[in-house]
Symmetry: C2
Subunit: 427 residues, 2 copies
Amino acid sequence: MNENHPSVPARDDESTARGISRRHFLKRSTGLAGAAAVAAVPVAQAADGVPAWMQTPGKPLSTGGAPSRFEAKTGRIVTAGYGAIAPGTGSSRTPLHLLEGTITPSAFHFERHHNGVPDIDPAQHQLLIHGLVQRPLAFSLEALARYPMVSRTCFVECSGNSSGNTQPKPPQANVAVIHGLLSVSEWTGVPLGLLLDEAGVTPGADWLLAEGADAAAMSRSVPLTKAYEDAIVALYQNGERIRPEQGYPMRLLLPGWEGNMNVKWLRRLKVTQGPTHTKDETSKYSDPLPDGRAEQFTFLQEVKSVITRPAGADRLPGAGWYEITGLAWSGRGRIRRVEVSTDGGATWREATLQGPVLAKSATRFRLGWQWDGQRTVLQSRATDEHGYVQPTRAVWQARYAPTMRYHNNTIQSWEVAANGSISNVYL
Amino acid sequence: MNENHPSVPARDDESTARGISRRHFLKRSTGLAGAAAVAAVPVAQAADGVPAWMQTPGKPLSTGGAPSRFEAKTGRIVTAGYGAIAPGTGSSRTPLHLLEGTITPSAFHFERHHNGVPDIDPAQHQLLIHGLVQRPLAFSLEALARYPMVSRTCFVECSGNSSGNTQPKPPQANVAVIHGLLSVSEWTGVPLGLLLDEAGVTPGADWLLAEGADAAAMSRSVPLTKAYEDAIVALYQNGERIRPEQGYPMRLLLPGWEGNMNVKWLRRLKVTQGPTHTKDETSKYSDPLPDGRAEQFTFLQEVKSVITRPAGADRLPGAGWYEITGLAWSGRGRIRRVEVSTDGGATWREATLQGPVLAKSATRFRLGWQWDGQRTVLQSRATDEHGYVQPTRAVWQARYAPTMRYHNNTIQSWEVAANGSISNVYL
């Protein structure tokens, strides 16, 4: 293959970690290697001449940038507002169908608010640690800045994500509408255990109450074990101060646990014995079982994946080579494997995972696919490092009562019709 | 230590990879362990009552978010505009002094433009691959979307970054003004080698000419070896489409090489034999030597680090515990080690590196420091996985002519005065 490139050294001895090995790359992209140009146009047909924007000086330097005016379609999808009664109550979704890589731009991180986004003056905001502690303490932003920090790149997923697929008929919508209550950020802040040690947790304490400074005073109970394992009081999101919709000036971050527990606008941590049974964890966020009981405090977001392209509401222009790509994540740790089926689950192939594969973060997967133009169904199935495998819809449904809406981590099935249109189906 | 937490299991057997081990954490934060609260306020002195923003419903859901109005100070620093003649010629710098973690928000990625930011209609833009190829091809955005993609989280650094420190007297400014021509993004796009293979590079070809669609038609020569090693045609930045100031709708990404070569608004790749010697690589971006000759095509950004906090123009409120933190990076690969001196280079301690430590990306380092209130000098020194060590200013200066302004990767020295004010000094 290198006979065309006498100056290019043979690449088989190169580490794939340092870059893409071309041979491996082509091998992986089954169906692309040896094919003619997938979609490029011979130059005779290409546009000619110097474009208008090269004939005039461009825009000046600026203190802050914004997306191109041609990308105005990329925005959160506001799917529930409960009308004029409470326009700040509901959710908006990350436009997964228009994004690539793994980081979610902070502007497009999903929202789930219980009474809107408070406009907090950071100079007036404090984090109180009280309850079963030796020294109740209040931390200003300035005080927290004096503590050591850590970063955690992880996903936050609403436990109600993908609940559309619990309905009797599959909703016909794009991947963002169905699965867009999922976002990934690099969060940076102070380890919660360090702050608790400053206050001095007293014997017998084993839970926390975490309360936000929104008008709903949203509050959840958190076991102290998690607080000491990997929780942080996050102050930064993707490098800058946390955005207002994600908890400015600070939020609780509990990597891998349901989004609601990552309390935004964090104002108070009360150390307790046992959980507090707040309104937010009794009226919501519990999981009904077939026998009439309900599971409570089911915090983990289990292993899951979804194909983001090609996906619901897309339309393939015709038979040929496509890259299937999507995201996989597990609240338990790292993704070990993502398998993709292009025949409705009859056979599975292992997708390539984009490194670094981080614990409790989302991992992008990719697999080349030669579509023959016939009707078929695309699926992805993730396995995490603990061996947990993403369940089918039937297996998951059997575990719960029909009213169950949370923690839906089932395999998504996208049907590709012969005309290329893609729809949501249950298999 | 766990006698206060009977419900918390002992943590020595837990993997630090899964989270912060509390004991290790406290051990590392020398001087903090066993101390009273660093900066928290006992609750008797804390603010009382329910804040105003909890007494009224918050703001509604939205399609896109923005930073808090209280963070308006966080913005790029426009340091050179060459007046009214060409307001789009010059640079603006990433506010490193106000950011945390490693990702640079796309809005604050540094700028270096040669004739402003073009306003490109993506439907009218094409990437042409021509020259010594078998099949000249033009790729639309739609065409590129049909190819397999990869992500590379890496730094882009202007080769003129830190040139202020080549002046005879150290400039008195914050870390962003001196070192802010450095940013980190997750870039996603199509491997360049794949597109070159589509066009079919002919025997004897060994370089590329890459040209941008700005009014300066900025162009640089790139060896084909790099094109096949890890170059991509980047279409996405931190999840979303590349921002206009970073090359919308596409840029060349050459991980670890000087920023200027990562040609923005990429419109043309001409495969050549030997470099083209464009105006942008002869009038600029070459390195004068003591003997009157100049090194050309010095592409690598060598190993470097800088303390971002506490740093120039900061003022420490008084003696006590501080976390020293900053960024380290190398165009050759991964950072192996960052050492920090708090006594002007007399002794060095190894800082903690925040994982994942990625090749050709920036790695954040942290080290606890107990300041005794006396005058001292803070420094950081990075070593990469190939054993390259960041040089002192004296060693670096001896290599070049006094007019050398590029590739300044020397150790930064921050002097802390007894009154806590921090200034830039040469040691």
